[in-house]
């Protein structure tokens, strides 16, 4: 077991190298004097300074974060509820609904974008944050749903029944027994959802308006001119910020938390 664990740790480390290699380049190039993000020429902090002058870029990052947060919240609610209800109850046409839910994952984004655009026009919804969030949730929540469903498969029904027997109401059983059990899947779904929404380009193009530009749209718009290192700089700032946030949260949690739930025998 120990030997297997070491091999697994090595494999994971190697995978991390794979995952972070382009990121290292991205961060490295944010200090590149050459404007075209292609060959290295020299070291500079200029691009970080440029971020603050680029109000449009910063606003687009704000918009993206706002949209991604709301999208994730809604997707988690829809996805978890959907997965649980479809699992627990025998709804007529469940298989049909299940397949329909997967359609947004499958449909090429261009088609989704155009059809949602036309749909919004037909129902007279003005393009803006609402239309973008709706579009994002539509293809993000299936990811949450699938993750939670995978976790539900093989759920010992005795678990829920025991919770009910011990006096909890159905909703209490759901909250106090099921949700903690599903938490890793919910977290996984939320992470996927956030990631997808943050980086979504094509559907967003069709459902956004001039005032609701997102970061990917802004970046894609600059491809022709050359992806200048300001974009690398803002990405680096974002990563560093996230890392700091995670470390701080963990530090605070460790200070306040009760002993963490260790697995028996682990």
């Amino acid at each position: 077991m120990k030997r297997v664990n070491t091999m697994l740790a090595a494999w994971t480390a190697a995978t991390m190298v794979f995952l972070y290699l382009p990121i290292a380049i991205l961060i490295g190039f944010s200090f590149n004097t050459s404007r075209l993000n292609i060959v290295w020429q020299g070291f500079t902090f200029d691009w970080y300074a440029a971020i603050w002058r680029d109000a449009v870029l910063v606003k687009s990052l704000e918009n993206s974060l706002y949209i991604a947060s709301i999208t994730t919240a809604l997707s988690v609610v829809l996805g978890t509820a959907g997965a649980w209800l479809l699992y627990r109850y025998r709804f007529p046409g469940a298989r049909l609904w299940q397949t329909l839910i997967f359609v947004p994952m499958l449909v090429p984004e261009v088609i989704m974008g155009v059809s949602l655009l036309i749909f919004f026009v037909v129902v007279r919804l003005e393009l803006g944050f609402t239309s973008i969030i709706i579009s994002h949730v539509t293809f993000c929540f299936p990811f949450v749903l699938v993750a939670v469903q995978a976790r539900l498969a093989g759920l010992d029904p005795a678990l829920e029944e025991a919770a009910m027997d011990l006096g909890a109401t159905p909703s209490g059983a759901f909250r106090r027994v099921l949700v903690p059990y599903l938490m890793p899947a919910i977290v996984a779904g939320a992470l996927m959802s956030f990631t997808l929404s943050l980086d979504e380009l094509i559907v967003t193009y069709f459902t956004a308006s001039a005032g609701t530009r997102t970061l990917p749209l802004e970046i894609f718009g600059r491809v022709k001119k050359g992806l200048d290192p300001t974009l690398n700089a803002i990405s680096t700032v974002f990563i560093v910020f996230t890392a700091v946030l995670v470390v701080t949260t963990e530090f605070l949690k460790r200070r306040n938390a009760a002993p963490s739930s260790e697995r028996p025998g682990a």
Partner: protein, 346 residues
């Protein structure tokens, strides 16, 4: 708030009356600009807003078709769009543009004669030229020592796997038409049959298809020559003069992107004010600085730096007269299928 609007409108009406323009009240103080992503520097937008107080809601797009998709969906009403020449032709045919009141765009006189009254807008009623350019050959002269004068020089077996071209089926077909001695708009079924063998020979030699940033592959040294937009070539030349730009001997074509006002624009007067603003020489100079295409504004050219004017991709020596793309209607489908089929044969 309402009273302020009213008095502004009154002042403008008086202003308009004294200058003989139509007495439409000035709409909301904003315009919706729908333009190519690389064409409108933020500085130009900010300058316009500072001077006129009109907010510019700028939405970029990356292809004519994307623009048309959103325009026709009716989801948003735009005041200004920036179509290419053949798209303007089609829009005029479909009666989707409104006439420009030239009294409101006096700076239009700065635009060179050779960019006016072109076939897509023969009476120059609907559009204000923004930037022109050509599609031609760029050569990394350090890697390619033979003289390259035309398409047939590019698509030789010895350059197999070293060529980059635009990922645009209409463009690709137009080059093969030129090699046959035909114009870029001769896209009859017969002509397409004739170009098939040429393209069948050319396409397997191509390493990269890229319309967004063909300069990447050239700068990386993964390809040595290619057929790209003149703006890309100009960028490459500015980066390193080893990248030469050549207009193909068999025949090149130019493109002209212009500002136009959709028929349902909410603020056409604001749109025309913007048109007038960007045709000012010092503003147009900013646009050139941002992306080195061919500036049709002759007064602006006088303000450009010697390096910019010396860039052969931006301002080809001899100022050759080139044909433009016309609207080809349904032939676009056949062209797309033709190129897709040939690409798939790899």
């Amino acid at each position: 708030m309402k009273r302020a609007h009213f008095s502004v409108a009154a002042v403008l009406a008086a202003f308009c009356a004294s200058y003989g323009c139509t007495s439409q009240p000035e709409a909301a103080k904003e315009i919706n600009l729908f333009a190519w992503s690389e064409y409108v520097p933020q500085g130009v937008i900010d300058g316009f807003t500072k001077e006129t107080g009109i907010t510019v809601n700028y939405e970029p797009y990356a292809s004519n078709e994307e623009m048309l998709a959103k325009l026709f969906s009716g989801a948003q009403k735009y005041d200004l769009i920036q179509p290419s020449d053949y798209t303007i032709e089609a829009l005029i045919k479909e009666q989707r543009l409104q006439l420009v009141n030239w009294d409101r765009v006096p700076n239009f006189k700065n635009i060179g004669k050779e960019f006016k009254n072109l076939p897509h807008d023969p009476k120059q009623q609907y559009s204000v030229p923004w930037m022109a350019g050509s599609v031609g050959i760029v050569v990394n002269t350090e890697k390619v020592t033979d003289p390259i004068k035309g398409y047939n020089d590019v698509f030789q077996d010895k350059y197999k796997g070293r060529i980059v071209v635009l990922d645009d089926s209409r463009e690709i077909v137009s080059w093969s038409l030129a090699a046959l001695g035909k114009g870029p708009n001769d896209v009859t079924a017969q002509a397409l049959e004739q170009v098939k063998p040429i393209l069948a020979r050319w396409l397997p030699l191509v390493k990269v298809y890229d319309s967004d940033s063909p300069k990447t592959a050239l700068l990386n040294g993964d390809v040595d020559l290619g057929v790209v937009w003149s703006g890309e070539a100009a960028r490459l030349y500015a980066e390193n003069p080893k990248f030469e730009y050549v207009l193909p001997a068999e025949g090149a074509h130019q493109f002209l992107d212009s500002l136009a006002i959709p028929i349902d624009a909410p603020n056409p007067l604001g749109a025309m004010a913007f048109m007038n603003y960007v045709t000012r020489p010092e503003v147009s100079k900013l646009i050139s600085a941002d992306f080195p295409y061919t500036n049709p504004n002759l007064e602006a050219r006088k303000l450009l730096s010697p390096e910019e004017l010396a860039n052969p991709a931006s301002y080809p020596p001899g100022n050759p007269k080139l044909e433009g793309f016309r609207d080809i209607g349904d032939a676009a489908v056949a062209i797309d299928k033709l190129v897709t089929d040939l690409k798939a044969k790899d």
